[in-house]
Subunit: 399 residues, 2 copies
């Protein structure tokens, strides 16, 4: 031990300290409550459902192999699920194999509908009936006409009445993507555009329709749709009248200490000022990137060929600003995927290209080789799809 200097007791400048009380008194070791065998069963029940849902029709033995549960246990769980009507038998497997022919089972995909609402647009509330695979069965919408407060809630109830009338199967639940800050219990703490403050929307709708209701912020809902089709940590940036984001970190949605995660619209970009924002600050992300600002700017420049490069530069600049704000987030969380949602004609082109370039130039390339920045594949329906995922996850998945 030539190079080692041990200082067991005597060391003047850095004495050995002894804590009197437990130093790590916080939640270093996370206590998440007791677990009973019945909780284990409900977990395994969900596991079977998930396997069927994601992998499609298959035999009990297939599920057993996939989940590593035994055939006996799977049979038992499936019997329970069939009794509840969540799973159905589809008859015998067609293909010719040795051994007893398998009885195919699957989630009763035709037996359930989900109702989803997107409250994030400024002029209307959109809604849809979806099947369990995320396919949109029917749509409905209602014009806002400036309605706020209680009148807006009434419109939601009317819209849901109409949608529920369009369902042709049992309704698994109602999912709502709302603007503003929404607490985990479905209370809209603050949605300025709708004039809502501490509105218990989930409770209200549950009381009105006697169905499971899930309410969350629109961007936080949208990221669920994206995560459902592309697993892995990601941030979804939703560009509309405002700019919001939803994050999945460690496989879980991020809510934040004040349920305000993803509220990046009013983060200031760069150190060179910028347009004045409605919030009073200069150079907020929204003041660069929000749709009204971009369309107004493009309109100002005109549609002539001569102004084409100026229009493109406007979009590139917005993209650069987005990249500047995202760089610290992508770096700190080591995200592998950034997804944009909003008007394709504005976002998908120079704006997206500039954002990628900026993001790469401002982070350490070595750590983000496989970083992808792309448009969502869900288009305008991303919030509706995400709301459906939220209901599916809440009603069928591991809570």
């Amino acid at each position: 031990m030539t190079a080692t200097e041990t200082t067991p007791a005597q060391q003047p400048q850095a004495p050995a300290t002894s804590a009197t009380a437990p130093l790590f008194a916080g939640r270093a070791l996370r206590a998440s409550g007791k677990v009973l065998p019945e909780h284990a069963r409900s977990h395994n029940r969900s596991l079977v459902l998930q396997t069927l849902y994601t992998q499609g029709a298959q035999s009990r033995a297939d599920v057993a192999r996939e989940t590593r549960l035994t055939r006996v246990t799977v049979s038992d769980l499936v019997a329970e699920l069939i009794a509840e009507g969540l799973v159905v038998e589809l008859g015998q497997r067609e293909d010719a194999r040795p051994g007893k022919p398998a009885t195919l089972i699957d989630v009763d995909r035709a037996g359930f509908h989900v109702v989803a609402l997107d409250l994030s647009e400024h002029t209307r509330f959109r809604g849809a009936v979806l099947d369990l695979d995320g396919g949109i069965v029917a749509r409905a919408e209602v014009a806002l006409d400036g309605a706020t407060g209680e009148r807006a809630v009434e419109l939601i109830v009317e819209l849901l009445d109409g949608l529920l009338a369009l369902t042709t199967a049992r309704v698994l639940g109602i999912g709502v993507g709302s603007p503003g800050v929404v607490e985990p219990n479905g209370v809209v703490r603050s949605a300025p555009n709708l004039g809502w403050t501490d509105l218990p929307l989930q409770e209200r709708l549950t009381a009105a329709f006697h169905l499971p209701v899930h309410v969350a912020n629109d961007a936080n809902v949208a990221v669920l749709a994206e995560h459902a089709t592309a697993p892995g940590d990601l941030i979804l940036v939703k560009v509309g009248h405002g700019v919001g984001a939803g994050l999945i970190v460690g496989g879980r949605p991020v809510l934040g200490a004040g349920s305000a995660a993803g509220e990046i619209g009013h983060v200031v970009v760069g150190t060179d000022g910028g347009p004045r924002c409605a919030c009073g600050k200069h150079g907020c992300l929204e003041s660069w990137l929000a749709v009204p600002r971009l369309t107004a700017e493009l309109e100002r420049l005109g549609t002539t060929d001569a102004a084409a490069s100026a229009r493109e530069e406007t979009l590139r600049e917005a993209g650069r600003r987005l990249g500047i704000v995202l760089a610290p987030v992508v770096g700190a969380l080591n995200l592998s995927e950034v997804v944009l949602s909003g008007p394709t004609e504005l976002l998908d082109g120079p704006l997206l290209e500039a954002a990628v370039e900026t993001l790469r130039n401002r982070t350490m390339a070595e750590h983000h080789r496989d970083l992808r920045l792309r448009m969502t594949a869900h288009g305008q329906d991303i919030v509706l799809r995400g709301a459906a995922v939220m209901v599916l996850s809440g009603q069928l998945g591991v809570s």
Copy 2:
């Protein structure tokens, strides 16, 4: 339904789409493997240990009330823990209460030591023996003298030999905070300063000492210490020769897609250039904030009274740059706590003040009313403490 427009089938521009394959085929519903009753028991076992650890000596009945398990179950679990030597009986409770006097039990705090290493300094490896409460029992260190690669590993082994000789109780495990990118399995993928690439440090040390070994990035380890004393989501920024960060989101450490979460040292700050960084870019956070750069700048300005305001401005500017980088992260994650670790004489003063101010000016105040930015209370020992937490959590906690 006056204002509601339902469009069940006919809607030209936005037809009802029907997904052919399960749309949500990803991991929307997270499948985390089957759960057996024995897993439930090990969970409850940890729950009892956690309760004892955080709340101190108490009776079995106290633990039962706290955990909501029955006295019978707690007795059973405690018997198992006593047999394993993790828990000890301390005799009867002193105070006078009606009923049968309680037998106090507690984690065997005097019976275990943890060995921790901090490899993040440039000139030396530091190590310590800690008791279960995080108190430092003994210290040791070894000078690096420019050692890299295999020689650096040898120094670690020598240091651990010395530390293990100083332990006077059973050793629960070894925790190591290493610079660079460390994968979850304890492989150091890249640590340029030490010349390490894909070094299986955890495996090497386990083989050498036959003890549980946990290895993680130094900043990611440090944030564990902070989280242990202050629950809630937080980011810890560690300022030293470089700048790194560790994050706790949703109560869990963030690792990132490439295990490189927290690597914010080379994120570019602002839109006005900045000092040239070793990585080639201009205006990286490190080029503003790293200790060598700050001390060099302060030295250049001199120690005269006349230069006092210039020195302060240097620190304020560094603080502002930190605030600029943190604003999008704090906004996106809605963090309530930012903690700084590093030389107090540099960080705790104008730098920290400027960072708070900048952070507040660049985010939406409404969402961050209770945002706190402060120095760590762990001082220089934060990585050692965090490494101990990592071992405690891994060996005693819910995995």
